[in-house]
């Protein structure tokens, strides 16, 4: 049993590990490690296309994570303790947003937004000289759909696990609703919000399929990697891939630690 578990973990981690290992290989051969070098990292980090894609991805991930954490938290606050039709409707929407495959979201968003833009643009261009088109904005919005749902789920779980007595005590001690929110509710929810933010960032930073449809002329890092792989396997991709994995891992570790800490109530 132990051996089996070990084999499964090896299956899960060996391929990633090999990519990381070979990103330090001096040669181009994939079947044999040739010396140690960091030249591929140097190459990747001085490639203007990589840097540009990295910047685009980081910007989009940050913006969509901020929006998702903010609006998701607001929605979770409103939805907690709510009953009736509106609650059922939101539950259904959240569920659909999480469950529907990314490819369907990508396609649907693409054709809906292009249709809306085509309808609005002649009028908008006449009035302001601006045109709406697919790009960073539409991608931030499309990623926000999934990540907002994620934040709502995380924060709502935390609200439901919150000790109501604390809120009552705060009110009994004369604090107004706003003061209670700022001094009691928000600090209690902060770990869930932060975890939601980090997961949202990771999702958006790693997403390929939605961006493939919705990014317009923008090139995100996954799109760049995808098109590089099509041109052939190079050690440079190993280096970029290792860095992308490292970013996700870092975010996940922080998210895990924050959630874990929050679950253990303070003994005092």
């Amino acid at each position: 049993m132990r051996l089996y578990a070990f084999a499964v973990y090896a299956f899960l981690y060996l391929p990633i590990g090999i990519i990381a290992l070979f990103s330090f290989s001096a040669g181009r051969n994939a079947s044999q490690m040739q010396g140690f070098s960091t030249q591929w990292y140097g190459r990747a980090l001085s490639n203007p296309f990589v840097l540009d894609a990295l910047q685009t991805s980081a910007l989009i991930a940050f913006a969509s994570a901020v929006l998702a954490s903010l609006f998701g938290t607001l929605a979770a606050l409103a939805l907690s303790g709510m009953k009736g039709r509106l609650r059922t409707l939101f539950d259904a929407l959240i569920y659909i947003a999480v469950m529907i495959p990314g490819i369907v979201i990508g396609i649907a968003t693409l054709i809906a937004l292009v249709t809306v833009f085509d309808a609005v643009n002649p009028w908008l261009e006449g009035a302001t000289g601006w045109r709406l088109s697919m790009g960073a904005g539409s991608l931030i919005a499309a990623h926000g759909l999934f990540t907002m749902s994620l934040v709502i789920i995380l924060v709502r779980a935390r609200i439901e696990g919150m000790d109501r007595a604390l809120l009552e005590a705060s009110a009994d001690l004369g604090a107004g609703p706003l003061a209670t929110f700022r001094q009691v509710t928000l600090p209690l929810l902060a770990p869930a919000i932060l975890a939601g933010f980090l997961l949202s960032f990771t999702f958006s930073f790693d997403d390929f399929i939605i961006a493939f449809f919705v990014a317009g002329s923008e090139t995100t890092l996954p799109i760049y990697i995808f098109s590089s792989i099509r041109r052939g396997v190079t050690p440079e991709i190993n280096a970029i891939g290792t860095m992308v994995m490292a970013v996700s891992l870092l975010m996940l570790v922080i998210a895990q630690i924050t959630l874990r800490r929050a679950e253990k109530p303070n003994p005092q």
Partner: protein
């Protein structure tokens, strides 16, 4: 007071509500409407009301065939590999190590599937394992761009998602039942078959459904590891929307895909009711 509380709620819900309306409900309606339309002269969409696109679905039959063959096969393979691991984590590991080991299973799911599939291109490709084998004199072996490679990629990508729900249902299992069975003289295999397995079925069903649904919409794994030879519905969709720009037909394909998924979910819910289990809440982390 009641009215102002309502107002506050409405204000808090407004941004999220707007998001769901514009980026979820509207797009899904557009896809549904377009699926009854026609291809525009220069690609895209032309208004019409016809079932022609649905009648033409047979043109992409191979994609459905591959998807409906490899998605269940991948789900089953992931299940068979995941179950023993979930069992081990839930019943055989000390509490001290359990969380860490569980996190280690889930972490890969939250890292880039693109890079993880690429890792297999690297390993299975001409200069990877096949080269190693032929260096050892074990002959020529072609691994990349085969259904096997796609299946491997699928299992690799979705294993974490399968382990978690099964673990949750096994972990909730009342251990005293197993002790009682042992005291009453049941051999371990019997208490497994009569207690552990039936009680873990909700987790098995949840995990299988999650993996199956996501596999139905998969594009990246067949594209990267199947090399255009193992075509899923997702690959057909990319072709129709980004290359041949036939939005009406593509929409019909997408609607059909979602319909198949909805039917699966409904059947799954029924099945859960029949085995009398409450829905397991599946954590995403």
């Amino acid at each position: 007071m009641a009215i102002s509380q309502r107002m506050a709620r409405a204000i808090l819900l407004a941004p999220a509500g707007l998001w769901y309306a514009v980026l979820l409900v509207l797009p899904l309606i557009v896809v549904l409407v377009y699926s009854f339309g026609e291809r525009g002269a220069a690609g895209g969409y032309a208004p019409a009301f016809t079932l022609a696109q649905y009648a033409n679905l047979g043109a992409r039959w191979t994609a459905f065939q591959n998807t409906l063959l490899l998605a269940p096969a991948g789900t089953l393979a992931a299940l068979l590999i995941a179950y023993p691991l979930a069992y081990f984590l839930a019943l055989r590991v000390s509490a001290r190590w359990r969380t860490t080991l569980l996190v280690l299973v889930i972490v890969p799911f939250w890292t880039s599937i693109l890079i993880r599939s690429y890792a297999w291109i690297f390993l299975l490709g001409g200069r990877g394992i096949p080269q190693l084998l032929s260096d050892l004199g074990l002959g020529d072996l072609r691994l990349i761009n085969t259904p096997f490679a796609v299946l491997l990629g699928i299992v690799y990508g979705y294993l974490p998602l399968m382990v978690f729900p099964i673990y949750v249902s096994l972990e909730k299992l009342d251990k005293r039942l197993l002790e009682a069975a042992g005291d009453l003289g049941a051999p371990p295999w019997r208490s497994f078959l009569q207690i552990t397995l039936p009680l873990s079925l909700p987790g098995v069903a949840t995990g299988s459904m999650l993996v199956f649904i996501l596999l139905m919409g998969e594009y990246l794994i067949p594209q990267m590891l199947g090399g255009g030879k193992v075509f899923f519905v997702g690959n057909a969709l990319v072709d129709l929307f980004l290359q041949s720009r036939n939005w009406a037909f593509g929409s019909a394909l997408a609607v059909t895909l979602v319909a198949i998924m909805l039917v699966t979910v409904t059947l799954y819910m029924r099945f859960l009711k029949r085995i009398g289990a409450a829905r397991d809440d599946v954590g995403l982390m």
